[in-house]
Amino acid sequence: MRASLALIAALLATPLAGQDSMPPAPYAYRQLEDPAQEAKARELMETLRCLKCQSQSIADSDAPMAGDMRSQVRIRIAAGEEPDQIRRWLRERYGDYVSYKPEVSAATWPLFAIPLLLMLVAAAILWRRIGTRR
């Protein structure tokens, strides 16, 4: 954790040059009125990646672009779009990189195949070690 301690600097401490002076997007820091919609938006935001940060969701970042993305998400949810539609829209533009939600695709199938394999291997080991003894 040494490194993480030293370098949460990169995250927390935003260098002061290179920041815009415009106010944040309207819904970057404002919740939706309807708690159910806000919950949907929040769930979606926690699984979308902030593109300008190193490794965070847009729900956890103060970067202006993350704020803009949050605003987009909230406005669209309020307008009635489904989270999956919004996610698809973003993936059309940025690829799998922008989404943390695991979806099976040509690029990600090992992420699902390997846990399945692990389950089989674990079962096999347990069966051999425990099942056939005594």
Partner: protein, 657 residues
């Protein structure tokens, strides 16, 4: 002068490590005892420890006096820093932290060379040789590529200062914990390699290794817990774990160490699980090194990209390849000849621990997979993101069964038991699970994973104290108390995690002075936002008054701070802690019309996460004390018995011709 002394000591220590390697290797080859070189190995290890410690002391000295002719001091320190942070600056950088690691390794090796006598001497020689081999690589890394004592041709006029974010006591002293953990695992690794080389995989080997694994595990637990809490209050969004690659790099050794701990316990007690223990001994240290590599090489995208330097990364990778590759090769060649241990029935404590091992290994594999996968795809120019939505559910597949078995495992007897004997306890726990699941899902809208977490937390908590039932508490061994408290700590931490996921309330408000916002049972009023100044920063501080369910007001003062050397901005959150949770307050930017963004969270029972972590570590400490005192007693008893035998023999008359 001081720096040169430190550097010279480091070179000498490296030379001794080489000596240790050579003598230990030669001594381990000879079948009988009495090889002269064997007499050199242990003193070499002890002296190496002393020299490395001296070298580190020299480094601290140059930082304490701010010797600006030393490059490391010039780039990392400043004459105006408080003394405690000047000293902390010694290890607050790549070179210094590597020297710290090497010093701890050398001291541990010296201690083992001095005190460990349980194992056959040949195995000890092999173990010390393995230690010397690994230490040599680290010395080479330090001396050839990351010299902490490098001088500047012209001394700097003033130091560049330590990152103000690091001028926090918690951060100043936290790095030790993880390094101590890694060093303990290095010791376990060397024992495993020594045992493999000499084919002596015995309960004594496990007993020698166990306190080191326990100690390492306690430190890792503390390090992870502290790091998580630090991230929680510093990052300003209330998150405490992100499955970030650097976090995973510290979690993976912990998972391996947990499995190793239990496996070594079985080997020590029942002489079973020999191959597992060896394998885990190698894997645990491998994970430490892989983690170190991932963090320091810069090949992973992370918030925490350490001083990125591909040259350093390559060096570590080469060391990794030699040591871990070598150990795994040795394992592949020799493990087949390790004799089978004792047999045991499926329903037995050994059986439950095998299950535990397999599950922990699977979780470890998943964390490793998720962490490395983006790296793999990037090699093909495809970029993917793997984060909490993957790790949580996929990890849960293995965590849930593991916790269920953990609840009943300690109740099983060794070697051979039947589930019907503990039928009543199983029924109780099953009923508890079902009742919790039903109750919680009726009471609140809780997602599946937090729901499972809450239910299992209760079950594990009850299961952890069941072994105490019917026993005289004063006479329960310390080791058993350790197990009970550590398992209870898991339950408590799990409860905190699930509760945070399930019941956190968030409120983002734009408040003008005088306005209030509500979050959960709290009502928070913004009084004022005013500038404040500190040693090397200025800040805008909000004066909030928060009251819980209309009770007495508490003052909270979150800030946005701006440091000026180097120029950085941070958020300082303000926390109000109650027994049943925390109010987390952050001030953001000024919104329009004189209103301020205030972010508020009510997080029920979130502190249980770190309290649980401390309990786990405490349980480990109790177990460690218990083991060490038993070992000491055994040694005293053996020594006294030997002395008595010698006396008796002296009293007897000479045997007649």
């Amino acid at each position: 002068m001081i720096a040169e002394l430190g550097l010279a000591a480091l070179w000498l220590a490296a030379a001794l490590a080489a000596l240790q390697l050579v003598c230990g290797a030669l001594a381990a080859r000879t079948e009988g005892e009495g090889s002269e070189v064997a007499l050199i190995t242990r003193p070499a290890a002890v002296l190496q420890g002393a020299l490395a410690a001296f070298s580190f002391a020299m480094l601290i000295w140059v930082f304490a006096i701010t010797d600006l002719s030393v490059k490391l001091v010039a780039t990392n320190s400043h004459a105006m820093k408080p003394m405690v942070f000047k000293i902390a600056g010694a290890w607050g950088n790549h070179e210094g932290s590597m020297l710290l690691w090497v010093t701890v390794m050398a001291l541990a090796g010296g201690l083992i060379g001095f005190a460990e006598r349980r194992l056959p001497e040949r195995t000890m020689q092999a173990t010390l040789a393995a230690q010397g081999f690994v230490a040599l690589g680290f010395y080479a890394f330090l001396l050839l590529s990351s010299n902490p004592f490098e001088r500047l041709p012209i001394p700097a006029l003033e130091g560049m200062g330590l990152n103000p974010l690091l001028q926090d006591l918690g951060l100043a002293f936290n790095p030790h914990t993880l390094y101590f953990g890694y060093v303990g695992l290095w010791v376990a690794f060397s024992f495993a390699v020594g045992a493999l080389i000499t084919r002596q995989v015995t309960p004594d080997f496990a007993r020698a290794m166990r306190p080191w694994v326990l100690g390492a595990w306690v430190f890792l637990t503390l390090g992870i817990t502290a790091g998580s809490y630090w991230a929680y209050y510093e990052l300003g969004w209330g998150g405490w774990w992100f499955w970030d690659p650097v976090e995973n790099a510290s979690l993976m050794p912990w998972l391996a160490a947990t499995a190793l701990l239990h496996s070594a316990g079985v080997l020590a007690a029942r002489d079973a699980l020999r191959a597992w223990t060896i394998m885990l001994g190698v894997v645990a240290f491998s994970m430490s090194m892989v983690g170190t590599f991932l963090v320091r090489s810069g090949i992973l995208t992370s918030v925490h990209a350490f001083a990125v330097d591909p040259e350093r990364g390559s060096f570590i990778l080469i060391l990794l390849a030699i040591y871990i590759g070598g150990a795994l090769l040795l394992f592949a060649l020799r493990a087949g000849t390790v004799a089978e241990g004792e047999r045991f029935a499926p329903a037995s404590r050994e059986g439950a621990l095998v299950f535990n091992n397999v599950m922990l290994s699977a979780i470890l594999a998943i964390v490793l997979l998720g962490t490395l996968y983006p790296l793999l795809t990037e090699a093909f120019d495809v970029r993917v993101s793997v984060g909490p939505p993957y790790f949580n559910p996929v990890g849960a597949i293995f965590v849930v069964p593991m916790l269920l078995v953990m609840a009943v495992g300690p109740l099983l007897r060794w070697r051979h038991d039947s589930l019907s004997r503990i039928g009543r306890e199983i029924a109780l726990l099953a009923a508890l699970v079902l009742a919790s699941l039903m109750l919680i899902s009726i009471v609140g809208e809780v997602a599946l994973l937090p729901l499972l977490g809450l239910a299992l937390a209760g079950v594990v908590a009850v299961g952890s104290v069941l072994p105490l039932r019917g026993r005289t508490l004063r006479r329960v061994p310390l080791v058993t108390w350790g197990m009970v408290i550590a398992h209870l700590g898991i339950a408590v931490a799990l409860f905190g995690m699930a509760s945070d996921s399930a019941f956190t309330r968030e409120r983002l408000a734009a408040l003008a002075p005088g306005q209030a916002a509500e979050v959960g049972p709290w009502r928070v009023v913004l009084n004022d936002v005013a500038p404040v100044a500190g040693a090397n920063w200025t800040a805008l501080q909000a004066d909030l008054q928060a009251s819980y369910q209309g009770g007495k007001s508490i003052s909270l003062r979150p800030e946005t701070r701006t440091f000026w050397a180097p120029s950085q901005a941070t958020t300082e959150s303000a926390l109000a802690t109650r027994w049943n949770g925390q109010l987390y307050a952050v001030i953001g930017e000024e919104a329009d019309q004189g209103r301020w963004q205030i972010r508020l969270w009510w997080k029920p029972f979130v502190t249980m996460i770190w309290f649980g972590g401390m309990l786990i570590a405490f349980g480990g400490v109790l177990a460690l004390i218990g083991r060490l005192s038993t070992d000491l007693k055994r040694r005293t008893v053996t020594r006294r018995a030997a002395a008595r035998r010698a006396e008796t023999r002296a009293l007897l008359p000479e045997p007649a011709e």
